[in-house]
Every structure is written in structure tokens, then in C-alpha cells.
Point group: C2
Chain length 277, copies 2
């Protein structure tokens, strides 16, 4: 049986760090750090995410302001709201819930967020920061959550072979860049990869961000590996499942993140920690 | 003996394409496309590069203007020159020779170049364009020269395994992004990679951009491979050498680019082709 790399202690450590940072911030500025959530409409998953953030924030002495905009908000009002928060000295970070309704231009909206306040690394400036390692902006929270888990559990990366399944702008590509920065040898696999098992079996660290149940099976892994499951999928019974077939993989590899309770449980803590970046 | 993937026919094909583009451009606008070279000082290697560009340009009905600035030009005058060329409707592309003298801020200068006119993909906007595949700006010429060689010689990429040695912002990283876009499975190796030979021997396409003579030896390759040598190094006798030990590698692999006469001979043609992007 492999070691389970649970997200909770990682999240707790990030939250403790953030709480300390928030206390130092308060001492210096006489107020708590504050994040603005900009939510268009009231989709149930947005509301659930918002509740999660508020719960975490309460543990870290971080303030959350929610700007609730109507489902049919105009482009101009959305941009005005973002601009106001960019310019507000008492707002330290901005999180725009995505996706936006179809009538709004998502690219335009995310790029309106000041890179200094871009909590989820969605703006072009943040993307460029990850690609060029300039320190500007933030990496996407999910990609950084993976790095936080690896760091917390002291998984060595320098000179090791990391294989990433998925090449999205939100997880796969930024993760490859972050792993490269830590001196891992990085392979990026995707739907067109010829012999995926051969690639994945060579990994010291295997990270699946494909978004498909059963992407990683028992034949794709071997002992000695650390497997990070970024997938959040739902089976026909509505049960949350990762990309990794847990029953087949857990007995073979050294370490594995569960789903739920793995990467997903760390992202909100990472988001709040970005307030103090 | 492997097939030699010479740069000349690739460059010729790009130049022919560019000449056609320039003719269509002339027909539409009543003038030839024009590139501005901005050169600070008169370093011998800059002058040699400039001569090369002018020779190529003469073959393609493309105009070259050289802005020669004094070695001790002020920051303000350099930025003014770039801005003037950005705004000049009769200048279609800008190439700023690098490195700049120490008293100038290179980052600031390259980012002053409008992405639409950024012939060598040096600005942040061009880098972001490569990373996010947005189509804005241009990839760095050397990285694109590699892709042009692979395309010209019809080397299949989709689903194939490409291994890149080097993670620089100028070659390694953008090349990885361009290969990924063509659906290759991409591995990025570097100085910290644990067992380089094991990585390189698995490649269908091996690209060395390490800048070190002998980076790729006979034990690093196998038959069936295409090897692209991006290195431009000089041995103790002053002779130009690639990263690949030609004598050891040429007999083992299927295809190999020579140095000189390989990638380096394609970059200037790529540069001019960017005028018509």
C-alpha cells in the first residue's frame, strides 16, 4: 500500500503561513489583506466555491468582499468593476469566477485584472510570468497546488523525471514550467501521445491532468513512483473520481494523492496565499 | 551514413515564399515590405549578421533600413528610435541587434518593439504568443528554423517523441511549445537531467540546443532518429562546431543537420519571412 499524500496537511500549512503573513500585513498596514471575488450570476458551483473560500479565509484573517453582478451584466460594467478593484488600495487580490456567461469576452475580462492582484494567474501577464519565470503575477492555483504538495511531502525534483499528462494553459503547461524551474526533466504527454504507458512508467513523478476517469491504470505505473492526480471527474453514479484508477494504482506506486482530498483541497489555500505575494 | 538535412534548400524555399509574399505585398501597397535593423555600435559580429540579412533581402525584394546608433546612445534615444519605427507605417518589421551595451536595459528595449513588428520574437508579447499559441508576435527565429527544417524534410511530428536539450527562453522553451502544438510528445532536458543518454536514445526527433561541443555523442543516439543540431560553438582551433559529435553520430542516426550549413543557415530566411506575417 502506497503512502497517501493527503491535501489537508498541505492546505493547513499554507493557511498557517498565510495567517502569519496576514498578521504581519495587519501590523504594517492597520488592516487585514482583502480579496475581491467578482461573481457574475449565481451558478451553484460558483456559490459552493465561494463558500469554500470564505471558510478558508475565516481561518486566516483574510477578508473577502463579493461583488455580485447580474447574470446579464454589460461588458462595460464588468470591466468597470474590475478596474475599480484594481485601483482600490484596500483590495489586495481579485478572483473573477469563470466561465463567464457567453455574452462576455473572457479574455478581455481576465486581462483587465492587474497582474499584481491576479489571484488565480489567469491574466496574460501571469501566464508570461510563469513561462519566463519573471516573478510577475501568480501561477494558476491548481498548478501551484501540485508544487506545494510535492514540496510539503519533500518529493525530490531536481534531476528527476516528471511526466505531465495534459497540456492545458491552466494546468499542464504551467506545471511543466514550474517543474522545469525546479530542475526536473519534464515530459509533456497528451491525447496524441503514441505509447502513453511507456512514458508514464518512466516517471519518478507522474502528474495526470487529463480530466478523464481511468487515464492512469495499473499498467501505466510501477513501484517507486509518486503519482499526483489533478483530475476532478464524476462517474455515472455522480461520485467524484480522479484520473487515476485508485484501486489498481494505489498498491503499485510509492505515493499517491487521493481524489477527493488531494490536489483540489489545496487550491483554495494557494489562492489565499497569493494575496500576500 | 545518415541523410544530411541541409539548411540551404529549406532557406531557399522560405525565401521563395517570402519573395512571392513580397510581390503580393507590392501589388497591394505599392511598395516593398521593409525591415528596420536597429544596431547600437558596430561590433564585428553584428556587422556580419547585417551583411547576411542584406544579402538575403536582396534575393527577396525586401527592403532593409539600418538605424545605426552610437555605442553610447542614451536610453531615451534608443527608445525614441524604436517608437518611431513602431509608428512608421512604411516599416513592417524591426530587428534590434542584441546584446545591447551594458548601460542599456535590454528588457525595456525589446518590450518597446511592437509585437506586430517583432521580427525575432524577443518581446514579452511574442513570448506569450508562443506559450499560449495566440498567434500574436513571432517565435524566435532559431526555434522556428528548426520547425521549418522538420516541415521541409517531412519529418512526422504528431504522436512522435521529441527530446529537446536546453531550456533557454530563446530556443529550448519556445521549441518545446512549437513541437507540442504539432502534437509531439515533448521532453525537455537540461544540465540537471539525470541520465541524458537514456532520454535522448528514446527520441524520434532529438534537438540539441545546449551550446556545448560534444553534448550529443554516439552513445546518445540510435538508428531511426532525426537529429537537429542547434549548437553554434567554436573549437580551440576556431572551427565552427555544433553540439553533436558529427563523426560519431552521423553513421548511427537516420537524419542529421550539419553545422555549419544547418539550422543557422535558415534563421535569416525565417527572419525575413516574419515581415509578411
Amino acid at each position: 500500500m502506497s503512502e497517501l499524500l493527503k491535501g489537508k496537511p498541505v492546505a493547513d500549512a499554507i493557511l498557517a503561513r498565510t495567517r502569519e503573513g496576514a498578521a504581519a500585513f495587519y501590523k504594517k498596514k492597520g488592516r487585514s489583506p482583502k480579496a475581491a471575488i467578482i461573481r457574475v450570476g449565481a451558478r451553484p458551483d460558483d456559490l459552493a466555491y465561494e463558500r469554500g473560500i470564505k471558510n478558508r479565509a475565516a481561518q486566516t484573517d483574510v477578508e473577502i468582499d463579493v461583488e455580485e453582478l447580474a447574470e446579464d451584466v454589460s461588458r462595460e460594467e464588468l470591466l468597470r468593476t474590475i478596474k475599480r478593484r484594481n485601483e482600490d488600495a484596500a483590495t489586495d487580490g481579485i478572483l473573477l469566477f469563470l466561465p463567464l456567461p457567453d455574452h462576455l469576452d473572457e479574455q478581455e475580462a481576465v486581462n483587465a485584472i492587474s497582474p499584481q492582484k491576479d489571484l488565480d494567474g489567469v491574466s496574460d501577464a501571469s501566464k508570461l510570468g510563469v513561462y519566463t519565470d519573471s516573478g510577475i503575477g501568480n501561477p494558476p492555483c491548481t498548478a501551484q497546488a501540485v508544487m506545494e504538495i510535492l514540496a510539503y511531502y519533500k518529493v525530490p525534483l531536481s534531476g528527476k523525471k516528471a511526466v505531465v499528462i495534459g497540456r492545458s494553459q491552466v494546468v499542464g503547461k504551467p506545471l511543466a514550467m514550474l517543474l522545469l524551474k525546479q530542475n526536473a526533466t519534464v515530459t509533456i504527454c497528451h491525447s496524441k501521445t503514441h505509447d502513453l504507458s511507456q512514458e508514464t512508467r518512466q516517471a519518478d513523478i507522474l502528474i495526470s491532468a487529463a480530466g478523464r476517469i481511468g487515464m492512469v491504470t495499473g499498467t501505466d505505473v510501477r513501484d517507486g513512483q509518486t503519482v499526483i492526480d489533478v483530475g476532478i471527474n464524476f462517474d455515472s453514479a455522480g461520485k467524484m473520481k480522479g484520473d487515476v484508477l485508485y484501486e489498481e494504482v494505489a498498491d503499485k506506486v510509492d505515493c499517491l494523492t487521493p481524489v477527493p482530498g488531494g490536489v483540489g483541497s489545496v487550491t483554495t489555500a494557494v489562492l489565499l496565499s497569493h494575496l500576500l505575494h
